[in-house]
Symmetry: none
Subunit: 387 residues, 2 copies
């Protein structure tokens, strides 16, 4: 029984007008939308229909029992010899005017339909629905992905709590002389102890950047932390299929220091306040770029360089979960900063200071958009941590 | 440095005629062909060109170093701002008459090109190569995937050996009263001891089916083995990226029994002999359906129900490795049963008896197609194992 699958498919169905049907085709797990929309993992070839009045699955005979037990679909059709006959029969039965399919040139998370499967649908429709209009489901999919149900919020919260605990456990283990790679190893080990999965991304796990060596999306190296270094950590954990994404900056004290130097403290304060400004700007119906601007303007007013990326992105089944972003209206972000916030969106807020000479600074929190504003999901970093 | 990537891309290039180019497009690992053809794992958006005279990769600026070090590509082009500009420039430069792309209606492993990315290629070609003919690479890809190099056979053999050892170690640990889930746990633990990865599939690891509860692709449950039960185990291990797939059936004796009852023994014998029949039918140039028929007819002649699926499939980078199958000429299998066997193919042989009332029976072996016939890669199950 998948309550989550029932909720998400219901949420998706509610976006459909009469006469439209949304078809997800997957084969050996090829379309990640089948996880998002139905919480469904089937290995055989399968078709999932969302119709304004019902949900229907076509699955291989050996998947039927499992899919029926999920309780997500009003009807489960089994095929043994011919998948396409079963698919064509359902297309004929629903006879939609508009058929939504999961393809997109720009959003890879909405592009799970393979071209071969598209050709199959096209061929079947030519025979029985010659006038059907095929449309990309991307706008609908982005909405279903972005507006989290309470169950999804619960899962993301578990991942966020685990990330905060991970930092709590890590801090006493850090010391001068450790390499970036060793610190990544400590973080992986703590994730293991907590029984959660760390997102490996491109670099084997958490980003660990000694500020002096360079702050960037890069693999942790063999450089060792020295006294006087700032170290920036950024990682995501996955719990029950949903992700956190939290970054922290830590100062390694020189002998005799009782706190970080003034420049580091001032940069931390600007990051902290920029997050507060962004948080305060969040409410439903506001476009993402306005939230970004609140943080962006704050750093600029404090004399720091302009943030070189978006202030925040959504998290969920993916660490970068697509849809509306809290970002500037730059060409590279397309329409994403113009999307408006909706209750149930979960965003990171990470208004980075990236400058040379040092200090650079990265603090990243996770927040939920509510009916009236926003709510913290992460326990904030309220001061520059020192070791 | 990837010797395997260099060998496989060379094998693929050798299939191309003058004037043809084979393009693999991947985004966040979307096309599994990039692993098969180039042994390449890149997370960013990338394009891999196979040309009769050279190989070329277009990758994000942050992936360049890694891809150059692989030593698979004659040329590596980095893009920073625009992937599509770089892609279009290479299409213009090669100016092929025929452009092979990875899509297929029938073979999911040759269908890694998403529809959104297809639309991008189509759009770019319309501008610079209006007369290019786009063709599915599936026949080429199936050949490259199916004809294993000696290095690939070596890796599959390692996985198969590990699977046989796993069953050896498991057998003494089995007893009446264990649940399906516990037995899966034992198998996972042994894989861990052996230092190999178990394919998790959709159900967390090996299939463990008490015959009485039902033989199907399903998650292991909390049902416990009773005396008199048949238990069917099926699992794949992955070693250096290549897989085994071996199933065994085990009888749990009642008190006083010194062997399995006659009905169970007879079903095992029919499965054993059906495997022998299929093995004997294997030789190069034979279509897959003929091998299937040998096993299928054997069970039917013995009065068992017709096998409800294919007798065997290829293994390699995937537990279900696509291409020619040893299966019946049913619509659901498309062209796959009509493909002919080639030296270097590795197949499972698993002619299941699925019937109610019991006993059902599943024994699965792995074999290599040679120049003259076939060779066992797995150590056969020669009798119904009893506990």
């Amino acid at each position: 029984m998948s309550t989550l699958g029932a909720q998400k498919s219901q949420q998706a169905r509610a976006l459909l007008n009469t006469g439209s049907v949304w078809l997800t085709l997957t084969r050996e797990g090829s379309d990640p939308a089948s996880k998002l929309l139905f919480d469904a993992a089937v290995s055989g070839r399968a078709a999932f229909f969302l119709h304004p009045d019902m949900t229907l699955a076509i699955v291989a005979n050996y998947d039927v029992g499992h899919v029926e037990r999920m309780g997500v679909f009003d009807e489960v059709v089994a095929y043994e010899r011919s998948f396409t006959d079963a698919l064509q029969a359902c297309l004929t039965r629903f006879a939609p005017e508009v058929l939504y399919l999961n393809y997109s040139e720009s959003d890879h998370l909405s592009d799970g339909l393979t071209h071969g499967q598209f050709l199959t649908v096209q061929r079947l429709c030519a025979e029985v629905l010659p006038n059907v209009e095929m449309r990309p489901s991307a706008p609908l999919l982005a909405k279903v992905r972005g507006v989290k149900t309470s169950e999804e919020v619960r899962r993301v919260q578990l991942a966020i709590d685990a990330s905060c605990t991970l930092y709590d456990k890590l801090l006493p283990q850090l010391k001068v002389g450790q390499s970036e790679r060793e610190i990544q190893g400590l973080m992986l080990a703590i994730a293991g102890e907590l029984g959660v999965e760390m997102e490996r991304g491109d670099y084997g796990g958490a980003l660990v950047c000694i500020n002096r060596v360079g702050l960037a999306h890069r693999a942790p190296g063999s450089d060792r932390v020295k006294a006087g270094d700032l170290v920036i950590l950024d990682h995501g954990l996955r719990v029950e299929g949903y992700c956190s994404d939290i970054a922290r900056t830590i100062y390694f004290q020189r002998e005799g220091e009782s706190d970080a130097p003034a420049a580091e403290q001032r940069a931390f304060q600007s990051a902290y306040d920029a997050i507060t400004q962004a948080f305060a700007a969040i409410k439903p119906e506001i476009p993402g770029w306005q939230v970004d601007k609140a943080a962006r303007d704050h750093h600029l007013a404090n004399g720091y360089p302009e943030i070189s990326h978006a202030t925040g992105h959504q998290i969920g089944r993916h660490v970068h979960d697509g849809g509306t972003i809290l970002g500037p209206r730059w060409e590279r972000y397309g329409d994403a900063p113009f999307g408006v916030l909706e209750p149930g969106n979960i965003f990171t807020i990470e208004p980075t200071i990236l400058q040379s000479p040092e200090p650079s600074m990265l603090v990243e929190e996770n927040v939920l958009v509510t009916e009236t504003g926003a709510e913290w999901l992460s326990r904030r970093q309220t001061q520059l941590w020192t070791v």
